[in-house]
Symmetry: C2
Subunit: 364 residues, 2 copies
């Protein structure tokens, strides 16, 4: 394993503010810190899912500064200095760039896997197997950046897609491709075309790379970002880290790694993941994760649905009693209740915006 | 005013357990102790509505034993001994019978007005004027029992009706009739007929009588009840009152004064009340009491209705946010939320029953 170089490291991206799960999620308690559709906080599941392969000592969490304390409490085995709080959100390029730099200071030959903190993955063993595949592929192509692509099981319009290019080779029995292109979130007919054509995968924001390769790609495509990342990384674990982070981070360009780096990179690889995956993007995800009961309703907590079907009913600290309504989302929390139509994908977001406009931020 | 005899006394009947306003009303906090559609608890409004004419010192409250403490707190000017707790509910005949006996021990020539604690009356001055009319009628017919009848403004099917008989005479410029009959809750077509025919009034459970006349009527029509009421009344304000009340009250027949006494009484009078009245019988009453906003929704508390109309939305200690639904009742309390159709009159009752069956009484 000489070319495989150093250890595997994980970077868990946990910066989201998660208004789409209001009123369960709040500004102070975003989605990734909550149990949604599973019985433990999403970020805890993300960490434990990796632990057999990448123990907590080799996990990093990049989150918002305001969630650092909560994350450290939820993940006590992750070294506190490896939970880093962004002073402001700047999309994924600065986040992953910083994490790559920090891992590189520990082990320049590491293989780093970066992923969101708030997704649910079905076959966890198969997922870990594919991390091994990615590592082998990067041992063969150490200058590449690899993106995992989820094999779609429906013509979803809510995700970006990845289009596969030529076969690079087979690693651990799995084919790895060159990445041909990112495809923006499609409309329904375009999504159906891609599903029928094959060779298109959902972009789940899952990457693997070696720190040196990442640094080289940033130097080439985001040249202003590299020196700032260097200054932050050099200060890490020192007394001036917070001060330098706060000075440098907000000045970086807000851009995703997809468009800032991957799309321009010479060596971008694609590894298909044949697993059930969910981005837990809205209350509607509860049906996929928790499943509907015999009466066609999805419930969690103390609930009573006397008649009606197709409802998603969540009682968090309390009870929801529903009778005679169909296809609604009803969420109770002690200080706020949400009722909207299940097919109204933007409903929760619009409610959150309206609450802000009307001076009801205290409920956000 | 020699024939008018003693003072006016009020008897406020406050025994209901009020599940129809669940989850705002609870076993421990029934409807009459809550503000529903108005800005103070219903029983407080009932007491203050009378106060100009019948001061608290001459008000009695007959409630359930478990609410005595709460009623005394809400009505601090009513003498504590005049707030009496029934050990079990036995409908209106024992309740009014007991109150009549108690007033009689203070003033055998009193005129007593008995009424529910949890109704809302529009023209309060006009209401008091009619109490004066009732007093005059009873001065002329001291052996009669008078029932007030609300002039109907719609063919309501949720109330019993009172049919007027011959004119007895005019008192204070208002006509008083003999009561011809009680009419059970009608179906819609029968209700329309009565509204068209005139001479029919809603039975709001509002009575006036003199203690002696009431005692005579009970002696004639509920002969087993009188001696028990006497034993309780003799013990009133003594050390053994609670003990005797607890021994005697549960043994009395559970029957309404309407069917137990009034229907058989020789001298039953009817005084029409030309006022807006509401029994606050269900969440739907909120529209009549509070009125709908420009968007056609009735709201109370911190609410946001982004689209949709015809909803009744109540946030008690918290917020309700609703989008894209019509004609629903949505009620939030810190530990329980209700969602049902507005036209589902039995919905709340069925939910309460189902919660009991499923071992979720802790939310009742």
């Amino acid at each position: 394993m000489s070319t495989a170089g150093g250890d595997l490291y994980a970077v868990i991206m946990a910066g989201g503010s998660g208004t789409r799960f209001w009123p369960a999620s709040r500004v102070r308690r975003p989605k990734q810190l909550l149990p949604i559709g599973i019985d433990e906080p999403l970020i805890v599941r993300t960490s434990t899912r990796l632990a057999d392969m990448i123990p907590p000592e080799r996990q990093f969490v990049i989150t918002s500064a305001r969630y650092v304390g909560a994350v450290r409490e939820l993940l006590p085995d992750v070294p506190p200095m490896q939970v880093v709080g962004e002073p402001v959100g700047r999309d994924t390029a600065p986040c992953i760039g910083l994490a790559g730099r920090l891992v590189g200071t520990l082990d320049p030959d590491a293989t780093v896997v970066a992923m969101p903190s708030d997704h649910v993955i079905g076959a966890e063993e198969l997922f870990r197997e594919h991390i091994g595949v990615a590592r082998e592929a990067l041992a063969a192509r150490p200058d590449a950046i690899l993106v995992f692509g989820i094999e779609p099981d429906r013509p979803a319009t809510g995700y970006g897609y990845l289009r596969q290019g030529a076969v690079l080779g087979e690693f651990g029995g799995r084919r790895v491709y060159r990445l041909d292109a990112f495809v923006e979130k499609p409309d329904e007919s375009r999504a159906r075309e891609m599903l029928a054509a094959g060779g298109h995968f959902w972009n789940a924001g899952l990457f693997a790379f070696r720190p040196r390769a990442l640094a080289a790609a940033y130097a080439a495509h985001l040249p202003a970002m590299g020196p700032r990342l260097d200054r932050i990384a050099r200060a890490w674990r020192g007394d001036e880290f917070e001060q330098i982070l706060t000075a440098e981070f907000p000045s970086m360009q807000s851009i995703s790694i997809d468009y800032g780096v991957m799309e321009k990179a010479d060596q971008a690889l694609l590894l298909p993941l044949p697993i059930r995956w969910d981005d837990v993007g809205s209350w509607a995800a509860l049906e996929r994760l928790a499943g509907a009961g015999d009466d066609g309703n999805v419930t969690e907590g103390d609930t009573l649905v006397l008649s009606g079907t197709g409802n998603i009913v969540s009682a968090r600290d309390g009870l929801v009693a529903v009778k005679g309504v169909d296809d609604l989302i009803v969420v109770h929390t002690p200080d706020a209740t949400l009722v909207c139509r299940r097919d109204d994908a933007e409903g929760v977001k619009q409610i959150v915006e309206a609450l802000r406009e009307r001076g009801l931020e205290r409920y956000l």
